[in-house]
Symmetry: C2
Subunit: 340 residues, 2 copies
């Protein structure tokens, strides 16, 4: 009868040591290429590693080293973020680029339910990551408490959580909204409205605030349509509402590019030309901006840069450097295209 070695155990550093006729210590030195190992020992060990198919066990390593060389990238509310938010991919890649350069493994953790929250909290607590980057749409995030309690090096991206000492990297939504609204006013529009979205989030509220800042005395509360989400369909609805309230409206600031695309659709339906009858500007400079006809004038959101800076912030903390208590705000250039 033949015994089937259905699942052979993984080779350990000890197996390599006996195979090469040396001690564990010497093998360890070769694996982490430290000095003070003879040429003969080195070649023997390398051959042995190849022969037994040795790969170091990270769990054991991070247990004794007290670190994992990994940084978590937490995405909360993925339904809205992954499927609608065009920035998330850029942030992710920016963060990965920086972490990769320092040989940190980025692991993204998706939180999609209460169960996920608990599990991710356990994961973070368990020493599987040395730091964490959080992209959250929520003002108050239960995972924030866990991170604070663990004193885990962290960085928020997008906008800061309420009442949290954690550092963050973001953009100045209010100033950017003000800037692009002023630019729209300079085109000579007289009746400017806004489709404001996601007012329950900092970003949404700030964009509306920037809009009113820009209009000053000329602000007309009736020309603000409020919709729940940064989506195409909410853009359609919001624009329809504005047209009903003022058929002569000639300028619109949409809270996001997706909203702007929806507004464009509503205007087309209503027989208005853009930018002829109505000038419209968006926010994000996402892939939406070039998919519409005409292309959108919008505020560029430096997604990749946000990811990079967040990663640098976490790496800095890992190196023991003190980080600025205030958040970092990145520049948001205005991209002027054809829609206004």
């Amino acid at each position: 009868m033949v015994t089937i070695p259905s699942r052979r155990k993984r080779a350990t550093i000890h197996d390599v040591a006996v195979e090469a006729g040396v001690s564990r210590g010497t093998v360890s030195r070769v694996v982490n290429d430290e000095p003070y190992v003879s040429a003969s020992a080195r070649t023997a060990i390398e051959a042995a590693i190849e022969k037994v198919g040795y790969v170091p066990n990270n769990a054991a390593r991070s247990l004794v080293m007290q670190r994992s060389e990994a940084v978590g990238f937490i995405v909360h509310e993925p339904h809205s973020l992954f499927l609608d938010d065009p920035n998330i991919g850029g942030i992710l890649l920016g963060a990965n680029t920086v972490l990769s350069r320092s040989d940190y493994q980025m692991v993204s953790l998706v939180i999609d339910s209460q169960r996920d929250t608990d599990r991710v909290a356990r994961y973070l607590s368990g020493g599987f990551v040395d730091g964490v980057i959080i992209v959250s749409a929520r003002r108050e995030d239960p995972i924030t408490r866990v991170i604070e309690k663990l004193r885990l090096p962290a960085a928020f991206v997008g906008h800061p959580p309420e009442q949290s000492p954690l550092p963050f990297v973001g953009i100045d939504n209010r100033a950017s909204a003000r800037a692009i609204t002023e630019r729209l006013m300079q085109t000579g529009r007289q009746r400017i409205g806004m489709v404001a979205a996601a007012l329950d989030r900092d970003s949404g509220a700030d964009r509306l605030a920037g809009f009113t800042d820009a209009l000053g005395d000329r602000f007309n509360p009736a020309l603000v349509a409020r919709v729940p989400l940064y989506t195409f369909t909410d853009g359609v609805k919001g624009m329809c509402a504005l047209l009903e309230r003022d058929p002569l409206i000639d300028g619109v600031f949409a809270a996001s590019d997706a909203v702007a695309a929806g507004a464009l659709e509503a205007l087309r339906h209503a027989g208005r030309s853009v930018p002829g009858d109505v000038g419209i500007v968006g926010f994000d400079d996402s892939s939406w901006a070039l998919r519409t006809q005409p292309h959108l004038s919008t505020v560029h959101q430096p997604a990749f840069g946000l990811g990079e800076r967040a990663a640098e912030c976490v790496l800095g903390q890992l190196r023991g450097e003190e980080q600025p208590a205030d958040g970092i705000l990145l520049e948001t250039p205005i991209i002027w295209r054809d829609s206004a």
Copy 2:
């Protein structure tokens, strides 16, 4: 002089034991809520855990348990996938949903460079994950070899890697392309062309093959425009090429919804009406499909379902169940809207 406990060491199970006046074993039983522990001990231990702020160390646990309760989700070529591929988010959420239900932590690993490939390979080797789901656009993926060598439970999603025994979950691109082309033919179109994209990938090549299958004798090689990527801009280019070759073209199968959106743009520019002059169908049923005017008739790709099945496949292997050697193909219903 006051000593500042700048970074207090994390409490261990041993600290809890001392605090509660019991042994490590009993604490362990409480933490993993096993039976055979008295009510008094339990309350004392729970209080002690709270007091010293104990959180179990996963690295130590997975070292002794020889498993990590985590499954990797590898995304290769994120530039094209995250930013253009509308399916990735759905796959990710589907996989997470299933894994979450079994209390597995899903960790996504992004491969964006050679350096990343090596690091991810080390990460997988190191015992940080018990299994892996791979979403790759590449036919030949270096990470595949690593996984095979490690005998790590795995599942490919999208389409199978070449010459690999690893199980996969996907759709039948060829049959789906054939089906929707036939549906387009049934609308009475006489001169049907295709904007074929990404012919270096299985999906791209299969979609073209399905198209020629459907046309049979009526296939006209001149009416196939080949473009490199599944993108909007390539769609514009491809459609322009088709219009040049046959100005009377009245039906188009676009290799993806993004390509179809580009084609629509080109047709609008050329003054053709859709679906009046030209009928057009896409592939993916992505968010593009409802953003265009008119909405796209397309092949629905069950992204969420693909993720679910891939996760189930990996979980099955972890439970020791034998998996079907052949891949699993999911249904792809045709969604008929206004563009044809």
